[in-house]
């Protein structure tokens, strides 16, 4: 009906032989490459800002503060690639962690409390999935609603007290090392590797991209769109509750305000990694790099004692710029 369609449908045979762009160009304008370059620039910049920055131990240690968001961002990447979004993850972290704390206090023991927490994550994810898939509501507004709802429930369940006194073996995951590398860093590396391979080479990974490119065409091609999306939302809930548990271990306590505003950081990581906000494009590698980029930027500014005022501005600006930039790159390479 539109002009563009007329054009594609009526292309004379001669126009078929358009040459694809050269390979170097394909690699160079990939958003991940941009993220990687940013990472190098940020590392150099941070080292220049503060002499205390360039210390592998310190950077690895600082990573543990963002680790929970980073690991959720990996799944969020897949959700956004599939054309949806989930802004409720930080609230799911808080609610599942609060449930964990309350269950532990109620005498369930750590394994029982962990089971409660993980189950709650699955249920919350399924609830989001239900609203988005069965009720056909836009995920972005649904998860804004559940963001408020889950956080509110966390407050109702846990009040505003800090629930702690977990056994020693449970706490301090960020301060256990394997070859001088904190365990969270290793976990993040392994999870990134697994998800990277999954998304990049598995049949379901491929289908996630296809769903994000065109959910209707995906359904017509026999791809189980709803099932995969449900899976992603549930994975989101599950990883959020895992992140909540990791935070509980790191902080040795939980509170309803855990990870407040974390959704913004998660989206920031995914956007910085070059995932396309409209779905269909993005990689785990990009998100992996972006997590480090965020750590380098935030840590660099903190250790240079740059006031938080400036830090907030930089991060806000970064989010807007990264969305605009990845959007521009994807629109350019679309044709």
């Amino acid at each position: 009906m539109s002009g563009a369609e007329d054009a594609t449908t009526r292309t004379p045979p001669a126009a078929d032989a358009a040459t694809p762009r050269p390979r170097w160009q394909v690699i160079l304008v990939r958003p991940e490459t941009v993220t990687f370059l940013f990472l190098i620039v940020a590392t150099i910049g941070a080292s220049w800002l503060s002499p205390f920055f360039a210390d592998v131990r310190y950077i690895l240690e600082s990573f543990t503060f963002y680790f929970e968001f980073a690991i959720v961002a990996l799944i969020l990447t897949m959700v956004i690639i599939s054309g949806e979004i989930d802004l409720s993850a930080a609230s799911m972290m808080a609610l599942s962690a609060s449930l964990f704390g309350v269950a532990y206090q109620a005498g369930l023991g750590i394994p029982g409390a962990m089971a409660v927490s993980l189950l709650s994550g699955v249920l919350m994810g399924a609830f989001n999935g239900f609203l988005v898939i069965n009720m056909k509501l836009p995920s972005i507004i649904v998860t804004i609603g559940t963001l408020t709802l889950f956080r509110g429930l966390a407050q109702v369940i846990a009040g505003d007290k800090s629930i702690g006194k977990f056994p020693a073996w449970f706490i301090g995951i960020d301060y256990r090392f394997v070859f001088d590398v904190p365990i969270p860093v290793i976990v993040f590396l392994i999870v990134s590797l697994i998800l990277g391979i999954f998304l990049g080479t598995s049949a379901i990974g491929r289908q996630i991209y296809q769903i994000g490119t065109s959910p209707i065409a995906a359904r017509h091609a026999g791809i189980r769109v709803n099932r995969i999306k449900y899976g992603l939302f549930i994975a989101m809930g599950l990883v959020s509750s895992i992140a909540g548990l990791l935070a509980a271990s790191r902080l040795a306590s939980v509170r309803y305000d855990l990870a407040t505003g974390g959704e913004l950081q998660m989206v920031l990581i995914v956007m910085l990694g070059g995932t396309y906000i409209f779905g269909g494009r993005g990689t785990i590698l990009g998100t992996f790099l972006a997590a480090w980029l965020l750590v380098v930027i935030a840590t660099g500014m903190t250790v240079a004692n740059i006031p938080i005022n400036a830090q907030l501005t930089v991060l806000g600006l970064l989010l807007i710029v990264s969305i605009i930039a990845t959007n521009a790159i994807h629109v350019r390479t679309q044709r």
């Binding site: 054009a7 694809p20 049949a203 379901i204 065409a217």
Partner: protein
Amino acid sequence: METATTSSAGETVISARGISKQFAGIEVLRDVDLDFRAGEIHALVGENGAGKSTFAKILSGVHRPTRGTLALRGELVEVPNPLTAQRLGITLIHQEPVSFPDLSVAENLVLGRDQGSVLGRVPWAKITRDARESMDQLGINIKVNVPMRGLSIADQQMVEIARALASDSRLIIMDEPTAPLTPIEVETLFKIVRRLRDEGRTIIFISHRLEEVRALCDRITVFRDGNLVHTGDVAAVDDEEIIRLMIGRSLKEYIHKRRTEIGEVALEVKDLCLPGLFSDISFEVRKGEIVGLAGLVGAGRTDVARAIFGITPAHSGTIAVNGKDIGVAEPTEAIALGLAFVPEDRAAAGIFQSLSVEHNITAAVPGRIAPRGFIRHALERALANEAVQKMRIRLASLRQPIGELSGGNQQKSILARWLLTDPSVLIMDEPTRGIDVGVKSEFYDMIGELAESGRAILLISSELPELLALCDRILVMSEGRLTADLSRAEATQENVMREAVPKSGVHSPTVAA
């Protein structure tokens, strides 16, 4: 029915000279010279993609011509946008009514027509009064203060016409206005159109249906492949000639000649119902058989196909493939049972526009490219390559986004996708829509070959000649019901159309998709 009068020698209202249009470097309209006269109904006919709609859109300011000029009563004019067109007295009534579903009928009538300051007060009382008046003028009974959302397509179409009248347009272009209408509504529309002509206005009537053209229009212009191939009085050409002009050759060339026997039942549909869309659909398609499914837009053909394939499953009834009863709730299951479906809306439901040809072709066979859940690229490449060769898909690289291919090659890729699943039943919904004439014949051959190889084919098409040439049998649907099952010998253009037009006189079911 009043017979069409030959051209009343009205003055030329608008004249196009050398109008050409390119999209992305591809010429879709070439040097069109055409005059429209006051007080005539002028038919524009041609196959899909012949350029008639593009031409109409240039006249109404939706597109701007790449070359060429328009003159209104002898004066050169620029029509950069629809609003200017409106001010010049040119209105395009789109095939699918362009409306604002949340606004009232009355407001839809005035929107974009009212001049004056944007901060000016909206004269609600006058708007409502005027709206009632124009409805009365048209002799239609539509409440003007209800939201557009609740109206049937036909009523929305009428509102569009009322809008054109209210804006006092001298040139009204109607793009396939009768497609969703019942005969009674068509008659009402025709009366209105004739009255408009008698008032000295010019009506451009774009249609597929030659009998409508014959009943209504004074002159006819035929487009083919972006060229104007004929203009003249309707009375001066016969249908055969018009068809020949439209497709450039005689249809008889395409006729599928059967070489093998028709086998056992491959697809059996019984008492399929989906309230609001279709009911009591029963038919069967045999191995090696090509069965056509004809009907007007909105008759429920596509809905039946979608139900069989599990996209919007039916509420009741059974579907059996190769004798096995199945309850299809998901396309995935349908595919596993040997069904394949080429959807009507290729751009939205067929291809993954920005993904590579390779990924498009292998989309339905994850099991074959990823035997253990992980994709083996060599395997995928080999499968895709083989399909490209077999289907003679013309492309620069397998990694090329499929959106860069021509419509025909996109459609071949979709067909290639399904052949990888080795389906026993292939359902095709308007497979040749928007495809070059040259590629079309290639497609007809392919459909024939597919049937020869023992597959059952259900072919939905609005191009009757296509169905008549290809099919062994033709099923006809009207208002959500099967009205006829015609053998090749019985099927003629007239027979099919007679069964296709609604009998009830009420509004045709609204199209859900």
